[in-house]
């Protein structure tokens, strides 16, 4: 792989907090790469090590071991930060400033001159639903408005890569919808996007790839399409004499439900097959539906398995 | 564990705070007789104040502020140059070993009188600043014993820091004659220091002394008002009556001046220790002022009252104070006049 194609590279990263006996490893020897133009979701429970990893990528934290590179430069270097836009998990913006002034500050730090800023700021505010809010003091901004402004400051210099920590934290449904559009637009423009999130819809709609982290270790790293497969689940509730139960159903371990049975099937082909077999066996189908698990449920199951394996 | 730690820290902080509050009381308990709170030498005031730790602390703050303002007047007098002289003088004055060097200037008793009445050459000290001030507002003084708070280059261990200190702050070589400024700008400090500590008798005294130097009716009246306020807070202060007597005399109110000097002398006699021994509680200032009050009481009685009465009170006072050359001379003069 060409080095120039890799935007973010994390190698054997270990992040520690505290000293001596109180040392706590937040990130335990993880490695991954984000390539140019990719959109990658970074998923994990609270305390899994997502923010710590992102902070190393931004140069806020120093790794105990390993390293992180951004565009081939050491993470945190001025050179690397020139090409990256960042939205922190939680950030208040200077309450004594106006939205326009704040964007002028951040844009100015990115090297944009005042003429460029004057041209860029109004459409950007408009794009993020903050039209006519440029001259409002930030102390009067709601949490959602602050988050939108945070996105604006991250993308003001049109960076090649975007790193968002907890993408839609604090946004209302409309805000999330608008944000998704902004990001899809950026994705279409070929920007690299790396973000942590809890929201399955965001992951589904925005990501090409997902990295799951648990207790400082990467537990899954796969394309979204592959990941979504095991998330589909189908449920059939039926009445039938147990002796007549077709084998295609029994292999999914039906459980008693009232005076009948309930079976959960995680494969669409097997689901169709089971439905046909039950109909042929003369079963009364009370309900048949598809049940999708949330990413969280999937994640909990996954880390549960990992935990058990580790215990063994 | 953390909660335990913070509780322990809180308890320790509370303990320190209580200890701080209790410290004056503890000090007094350990050595109550030696405790000297504030400026006031008045027994009653001291007793009331010493009963309450909070009053004591607040009182100390007020008297300390007053002291700082007093030092300020010294600075103003010397155009900002900080001299050590007065601090030493204060310390020595309570030990009975003071030897004034330099331009000590006695004030002629007759200077108190209107010009046409200056016939008698009796000598008396004026108070405090008058030790080294003349009526002329700006005059050069050479004080051999004087030393500046910022040391001279020879005495300074600080090298360049000392040099900068001498350049930035008002400073001049103490061995050279220095200039005293007009007292006008000192007056607000006397007003503020007596507001801060109404028992600052020296504040009232010297403030009134400077006001007297304006030689204007309005300021003399202000001086009287100022001293009346001082007397209200310090009814036993013979010094304030003495100063009020001086100013009243300047206003040609002889009868009242005479009464004020008498009052001052009587109060002084009551306070003065036997044989006028100088101590912490009876300083040179006290002794000088007490003698001035007695002499002026006799002098004004003789000038504006009855010579026989003057002779009587002079003899009575002399009996109490044992010896005083000036008073004895006054008596002899009156006897010879009478004859």
């Amino acid at each position: 792989m060409n080095q120039s194609e890799t935007v973010i590279e994390v190698r054997n990263l270990v992040v520690e907090y505290g000293r001596g006996a109180n040392t706590n490893q937040a990130v335990r020897n993880i490695s991954f790469q984000i390539k140019k133009g990719e959109s990658v979701g970074f998923i994990g429970a609270n305390g899994a090590g997502k923010t710590s990893t992102i902070k190393v990528i931004m140069g806020f934290l120093f790794p105990a071991k390993g390293e992180a590179l951004v565009f081939g430069d050491k993470a945190g270097s001025v050179q690397s930060r020139k090409r990256i836009g960042y939205l922190p998990e939680v950030a208040l913006y200077y309450p004594f400033m106006k939205a326009r002034e704040l964007l002028e500050l951040y844009g100015g730090l990115h090297g944009l001159n005042s003429r460029a800023l004057k041209e860029k700021i109004p459409p950007l505010l408009d794009q993020l639903g903050l039209k006519d809010k440029g001259e409002v003091l930030l102390k009067n901004f709601s949490k959602g408005m602050q988050q939108r402004l945070g996105i604006a400051q991250a993308i003001i210099a049109d960076p090649e890569a975007l790193v968002f920590d907890e993408l839609s934290s604090g946004l209302d449904p409309l805000g999330r919808y608008e944000l998704r559009h902004v990001l899809l637009d950026l994705k279409q423009k070929g920007r690299t996007i790396f973000f942590s999130s809890h929201e399955l819809t965001e992951v589904e709609s925005l990501c090409d790839r997902v990295i799951m982290i648990h207790e400082g270790r990467i537990v899954t790293e796969s394309p979204v399409a592959d990941l979504m497969k095991p998330l589909n689940l189908f449920e059939i509730i039926f009445s039938l004499d147990s002796a007549s139960m077709p084998p295609v159903v029994t292999k999914f371990n039906p459980t008693p439900e009232g005076d009948g049975y309930r079976v959960l099937i995680d494969d669409i082909a097997a689901y169709s097959e089971a439905l046909s077999a039950l109909a042929s066996a003369g079963a009364v189908i009370r309900s048949a539906s598809s049940k999708s698990r949330t990413l969280e449920e999937y994640f909990i199951e996954l880390v549960g398995e990992k935990g058990e394996k580790q215990a063994v | 564990m953390k909660i335990m730690d913070s509780k322990r820290e809180g308890a320790f902080a509370l303990f320190l705070f209580l200890l701080f509050l209790a410290s004056p009381a503890v000090t007094m308990r350990l050595n109550p007789k030696n405790y000297e709170g504030g400026r006031s030498r008045d027994e009653r005031t001291r007793h009331i104040r010493n009963k309450s730790a909070a009053a004591l602390i607040l009182g100390e703050i007020r008297s300390s502020m007053s002291d700082i303002m007093f030092i300020k007047t010294e600075l103003y007098l010397h155009s900002g140059v900080a001299y050590k002289l007065n601090l030493d003088y204060d310390a020595l004055s309570s030990k009975g070993t003071v030897v004034e060097k330099g331009d000590q200037q006695d004030v002629n008793l007759e200077q108190l009188l209107p010009e046409d009445q200056r016939n008698h050459a009796e000598h008396e000290h004026d108070h405090d600043h008058a030790h080294h001030h003349a009526d002329d507002d700006k005059i050069h003084f050479h004080c051999e014993g004087a030393d500046t708070v910022i040391p001279t280059r020879k005495k300074d261990f600080r090298g360049i820091i000392g040099e900068l200190h001498r350049r930035v702050k008002p400073w001049q070589d103490p061995s050279k004659p220095h200039l005293h400024t007009s007292g006008e700008e000192l007056l607000p400090w006397y007003r503020l220091m007596t507001l801060s500590d109404p028992h600052n008798i020296r504040g009232y005294m010297i403030g009134a002394w400077w006001l007297k130097h304006f030689k204007k009716e309005a300021q003399l009246q202000e001086a009287i008002k100022f001293l009346d306020e001082g007397i209200r807070y310090n009814p036993d202060s013979y010094q304030l009556y003495l100063m009020k007597g001086n100013i009243t005399l300047s206003l040609d109110n002889h009868r009242e001046a005479k009464a004020l000097y008498r009052k001052s002398a009587d109060l002084a006699i009551r306070k003065r220790p036997p044989d006028g021994k100088i101590s912490r509680d009876w300083t040179h200032y006290n002794e000088e002022d007490a003698l001035a009050a007695i002499r002026l009481a006799v002098f004004t009685e003789k000038e504006y009252g009855d010579v026989k009465t003057a002779l009587d009170i002079a003899r009575r006072y002399l009996e109490i104070i044992n010896s005083d050359l000036i008073l004895e001379r006054q008596i002899q003069q009156m006897i010879s006049q009478d004859q």
């Binding site: 902070k55 836009g85 950030a91 208040l92 | 900068l164 702050k169």
Partner: protein, 258 residues
Amino acid sequence: MRSIWLISRTVLLEAIRRKEIYAITLVSLLLLTVIFSIDFFQIEGLMKFYREVALKIMSMATALTVIVLSSRQLPREFENKTIYPLMAKPLRRTSFLSGKLLGVILAALFCFSLFMFVYIIGTLYVGGGIPWSHFLQYIYLQLLQMMILTTLGFLLSLVMNLDAAITLGIIFYITANILITSFTYLYDFVGIFGKTMLTVLTFIIPQLALFDFSGKTVHSEVWPPLDLNTLAILTAYAFVFSGFYYLLCIVIFRRRAI
């Protein structure tokens, strides 16, 4: 350079838009009014007294503002997490600190301007003139002092919590003026070890009293303004100390995780 200016502008903007400085100015104005409402024996034109009180209030209020402002700059950035979007920009940590330093100095200048306005109004009321050369030298030296206090405030806030940093800064400001004189007194009463210690302390503690030109400004009719040589030495002295504190700040801040 532009990034330093942008950061400093933020600090200045905070100082201008927040109410603290105006509140301090108003309280100072009130204090002056109260003091001058006292009847000083019907004497008018007490210029020295007015100068003394006004300059003292001006320097103390500015010093307190600077101590609080400088001490809270970094902790507030961490506490409110405003430092994250800022440090995600191509901004060096040294530029960030320099911007903050310049910003606090500008805020101190703003504070002085406000007080100067009050002072001039007061002078018009009291009567008498303003000794401009003394006054400007006074302001200049105060700014040098503020530079030392600012870097010290930054340093303290990097090694301890905000409250402790402010308290220590204030204690240092108050005692530094007393120390310079007390050392000269103590020197005659201590042994050789004490003398060595006092000498060392004299040189390692910044002598803030050297930047208080109020004495000569108050009695300006007697004392000439400072010569350029002295001003240059004092400037160098201030830069040595603030430079040292600033370097320590950089060393600590560069190693600090955000």
